[in-house]
Amino acid sequence: MLLLSRRKGESLLIGDTVEITVLAVEGGNVRLGIRAPGAVPVYRRELYEAIRSENRDSAAAGVEDLSRALARRPVTPRSAAPAPVRRPRRGDRPSGPSDGPLPS
């Protein structure tokens, strides 16, 4: 791990496009300003890890697991939701890379 010391107002550059600036240091808190291209997502680590953990738990479910959990739950009527799930329809055309063949 690279270790660096920075003072308030000083920055780090990661490559040519990501800049992290120390805006304030107060007690145990460091306030950072991050400038990055939109294509570079920036996450709070604990939130990212929580979402990742939820996704992994979700991927562990089988069809029978979900059916069992839903067994006594009535289907939520579509009318209850202001914006129900709208499934893609066959007539909708894809765009971009989504219309390529499956990898072999």
Binding site: I51, R52, S53, L66, P94
Partner: protein, 154 residues
Amino acid sequence: MTRRPSVLKSTRFGVLRPDAGSILTLIDGLVGFPDQRRFLLVDHAGREDFGWLQSLEDGGLAFPVTDPRRHWPECRYAFSADDLRGLDLAPGEDPDVLVTVSVPAGGGLRLNLGGPLVFNFRRRRGRQLVQAPGAPVPAALPCSFSPVEKAKAS
């Protein structure tokens, strides 16, 4: 140019033959699964309120999903323009929203409200977001990762 037919052997749903027009692309992959970008939305048998995002890269990988607004009509997310970047939504057009669902061993369901999947189904493009703390979901809807849905199976 003739595209070769696409066939996926999935562990949950058997052989799937998605046509190009049914494939959803998650621009950045799923959080924790960055290489999984192409999916098929498969119905959960007998349930129109739950489905599965089946990976087209890995036949053994699928995620139960649902629209949280079907269960909590008051559910609101406030997405920034950056959140919706690359979805090709028309000005003022709202994204469709799904969340992944997990099935805890102790029963019930858990909805991943903190990591909504936003889609433009018309363009078949989507992205999973990592919502900032205090993201505007209704107070009655915990946006933490604790169980928020306890449909008891027994």
